[in-house]
Amino acid sequence: MSSFNNLLLEAKGITKYFGTITALENVNLKVRAGECLGVVGDNGAGKSTLMKVLSGLYKPSAGSLHFQGKEEVLESPRDSQNLGLEMVYQDLALAGNLPIGENIFLGREPTKNLGLLKFLDFKKIKELTDAHLGKLKINVKSADQKVEELSGGQRQAVAIARSTAFDAKVVIMDEPTAALAIKEVGKVLDLINSLKKTGVGVIVISHRMDDIFTVCDRVMALFQGTNFAEAELSKTSRDEVIGWIMGKK
């Protein structure tokens, strides 16, 4: 883990208000290349809000985001994608009516230009999709299969493939195994481990201690919208982390 000092993403003093509600208060977060950070917390602790701030979906009320040492202001998810910051949402953010390949390239479709007109390059979408799924060892019948025809685990795999199709440096996953059958959980966790090996920084938000203790290197707990505790995984235990979630140290 020599790349451990290679800081990719840092959030400093993130605060987010919704009207009079304080969803996040002065939250800090760091993730390095090839590292997996687990973020835990009870419902309403602010995990999803933090994620949406990192992805550019919400603008923080205060605080700053630093990417590879440089401060960035994210106006939209497009901005974070351009930086190499990708998100795998809990509701998967896939369009079931579209095929796998078109989902992976949604919003960033390769095109063939004919004068001023741009046409979708379906052949290229298929080639790139097959190559990318092959690289991640994701097996589906065909890149043309509609996402709504896939199992939960396959959908999660497509969502992860989507997040890494464009040179992602940091991938943030919200409850990546929550909706999966038990036999599919292991496959998704394997996929996260292989992402780490390629030098991607991964942030996993999860309720499941099994996930955290299988793939993460470090774990941090949010409690009522604040940083509550943080530790290297080797220096903590499940019981301790569960205690943090409930606000006990």
């Binding site: 939209s76 994608q81 998967l92 953010a93 369009a95 979708l120």
Partner: protein, 338 residues
């Protein structure tokens, strides 16, 4: 992830489903044509009657195409009939004011586009809870405006250039056909417009994003797609197509009249639904809408040929809507594996 090879899905039957999905509605259309031909062997497939059908569906097919794009985004546009009427009235007033024909021809297109823009802006900027509400409002607003500017009376008599799209004939005598065997310009227009929009919906990024928004707006948003911008484009295009409809109707009727396009929004929606578009968005094809428009047109034409009362036509069209959607429900039961 290695899934076990699904033997069942390899079967021929399941392989056929996607094709049935895509072209099933055309089979229904062919079946109808066949039945009508058997019932009216001398008349139904005659040159005169076939061109008649196309002339009759010409402006409805424009409204249906616009509403179709809106329905793909999981929206609805109830105002297309009123947009068409308002555009027609504006055309009539501009024509009566003595404007040159190329100005008169463009006015309904601009008027329709702007009406659609108002719908799109209202739905996105005013954050209307559902497009139904915004377009229900503009259904009244646009028709009311059309009556206000025209005084609620018909304005008739346009020049041949203005009437060309709706009334023009392409002579085919050079092909050795008789003088009566002409090609209506509106038929060519339908083909051209549908082809352009087929390309747009299937081969452009914007078209793909329209389907994506209908499939899962959150996915579209998370992919960095500007959903509001796409919605405004869709409603504007829908208005623009209604404007083309107005231009065709101006040619056919040679008049701007207060009842133009009354309840035609419902016909347009019906054609989309019969053609396989899903009200929940993300599903449907341009070809399907065309088939839907044709099915309604042929049904009306066929029943007219057989002297069936128009009340029965209403009953039959309603039944076909229910039947078409029920077939769709059955089909989806078969094709989903869970």
């Amino acid at each position: 992830m290695v899934e076990e090879k699904d033997k069942k899905s390899e079967s021929l039957y399941l392989k056929l489903i996607p094709y049935f999905d895509k072209y099933g509605i055309l089979l229904l259309l062919l079946l109808m044509i066949l039945v009508m031909h058997i019932l009216q062997p001398d008349v139904f497939l005659s040159w005169r009657n076939v061109t008649n059908v196309f002339k009759q569906i010409s402006w409805q097919s424009m409204l249906a195409l616009g509403v179709f794009m809106v329905i793909v985004t999981a929206g609805i546009d109830l105002s297309v009939g009123s947009i068409m009427m308002l555009s027609l009235m504006i055309l009539a007033i501009v024509a009566k004011a003595g404007a040159p024909w190329f100005i008169v021809v463009i006015t309904p297109l601009i008027a329709g586009f702007l009406c659609g823009l108002i719908n799109g802006a209202g739905i996105t900027f005013l954050r209307m809870p559902h497009p139904f509400i915004m377009t229900l409002g503009t259904l009244y607003i646009f028709r009311g405006t059309g009556n206000l500017i025209s005084g609620g009376t018909p304005i008739s008599g346009f020049t041949d250039e203005v009437r060309y799209l709706g009334h023009g004939r392409i002579d085919l005598t050079w092909l050795g056909l008789e003088k009566s065997q002409y090609l209506p310009v509106s038929l060519v227009l339908i083909a051209v417009v549908y082809f352009i929009f087929w390309i747009f919906m299937n081969h452009s990024r914007t078209g793909k994003w329209i389907y994506a928004i209908g499939g899962n707006p959150n996915a579209a948003r998370a992919s960095g797609i500007n959903v509001n911008k796409i919605l405004i484009i869709v409603y504007s295009l829908c208005g623009f197509l209604s404007g083309i409809g107005a231009l065709i109707l101006a040619g056919r009727a040679d008049s701007g009249y207060p009842n133009a396009g009354l309840q035609s929004e419902l016909d347009a929606i019906a054609a989309c639904i019969i053609g396989g578009a899903s009200f929940f968005g993300g599903r449907g094809t341009v070809l399907g809408v065309f088939a839907g428009v044709m099915i309604m047109g042929i049904l009306r034409n066929g029943l007219n040929l057989m002297d069936v009362s128009s009340f029965w036509q209403q009953v039959l069209i309603g039944s076909i809507i229910v039947l078409a959607v029920y077939i769709d429900v059955l089909r989806r039961d078969l094709s989903t594996r869970k």
